[in-house]
Symmetry: C2
Subunit: 224 residues, 2 copies
């Protein structure tokens, strides 16, 4: 399967390279498909090269000693994985984890080709700066919520967001574990707050499923 046309459409900087370089890159591409739940770890040994995400979705998260998680941002079509950037460019490792959350296709450009033909181009540098700047702002937003908003407000917001993504459905297929991971809190805290919401007549929660009964009340909490 040839992904080249798709790639230059998603990553226009590739199209600014000269024809010979394009041909070299085209012939050296490694296309890999990853299933959901696959963990893309940051070990340099597993680095296949510079990554161009063609489709799917990857979650980048922090993991605490005690196994708690907080989601930093998602990587999708048009993004690159800073894990592989940093494993190629510096000796520092990327201080986070990444896992596939929707089946994902990534094109890898081998390090030697990337370093020789891509890294030193202006168009690539512009792309990478802009992409990182967007991620940076996402992370600032996550940080702001962690610093300033109580967990009940953050859970209410998250439930509304998930409902919105599912065409305002009142049925959300979510485990307490998943909510805790997204928001950087513990399952116990999520459980306590869902029970509180239940007592207030806002929702019913069963194994892996939440049914929202009162959107107005949930909106009120999210707006506090």
């Amino acid at each position: 399967m040839n992904h080249w046309n798709e790639l230059i459409y998603i990553y226009p900087f590739l199209n600014t390279l000269d024809e010979e370089t394009k041909s070299i890159i085209k012939n050296s591409l490694i296309i890999r498909e990853f299933d959901s739940d696959y963990t893309l770890i940051y070990e340099s040994s597993s680095c296949l090269g510079f990554s161009l995400i063609i489709s799917g979705s990857i979650r980048v998260y922090k993991l605490s000693d005690k196994g708690r998680e907080v989601t930093l941002y998602k990587l999708e079509k048009g993004d690159t994985c800073y894990l592989s950037m940093s494993c190629m460019l510096t000796n520092k490792h990327f201080p986070a984890f990444a896992e596939v959350i929707e089946p994902t296709v990534i094109a890898f450009i081998p390090s030697s080709i990337f370093n020789k033909y891509i890294y030193n181009t202006l168009e690539f540098q512009k792309y990478i700066f802009e992409n990182l700047y967007t991620k940076f702002n996402n992370v600032l937003k996550v940080l702001e919520e962690l610093a300033f908003e109580s967990v009940d407000i953050r859970i209410a917001k998250y439930l509304l967001l998930i409902s919105q993504k599912a065409n305002s459905s009142k049925y959300l297929y979510l485990t307490q574990e998943k909510i805790a991971q997204e928001l950087g809190t513990s399952r116990e805290v999520v459980s306590r707050i869902l029970t509180d919401f239940k007592n207030k007549g806002i929702l019913i929660s069963s194994r892996g499923k939440i049914s929202i009964l009162d959107f107005d009340k949930l909106n009120n909490i999210a707006k506090l």
Copy 2:
């Protein structure tokens, strides 16, 4: 006062420009000095151009509706202010505030000169990507602490850090307000935890000054 030699030493990408461009930039520089506590806000109207920090220190922080703060990172010699970058390049405003914490000298390059001669150079793009990447990792570290560490551990770590910077001094000149701002918590929480530390014989706290009595105990809390 001519800051040019200092500037090209701190920002080597300037030295890669051709002689004519260097001369244009040199003649268009606006040097401004800012006193401590001056707030560099993000209003586009006040943007003097692209900023190159020559000396001093700037604190970039988030502010909540309720007036709570959390410090994201510091900007120092060799850094640039993303506030001015984003006010020149995009319509998005930078989602944070910045204030001068040590007297600071900034060289500004007017937007028109920056856009015409600097932004489109490879060396500049490499500089800006690397600089942002470092800030990005700092922010991830702050986020990790907010998500996973309780406030008492974070305060213990912060006190040890400040002591270390003052040659392991046992006397720290810090207000509760300042600690709260740095760590994104409220003054009340800081007060409660300092009282707890006092009761444990770890420190004595008076107006604007903390005296550490027992470094071992403080280290133990920081390591929990």
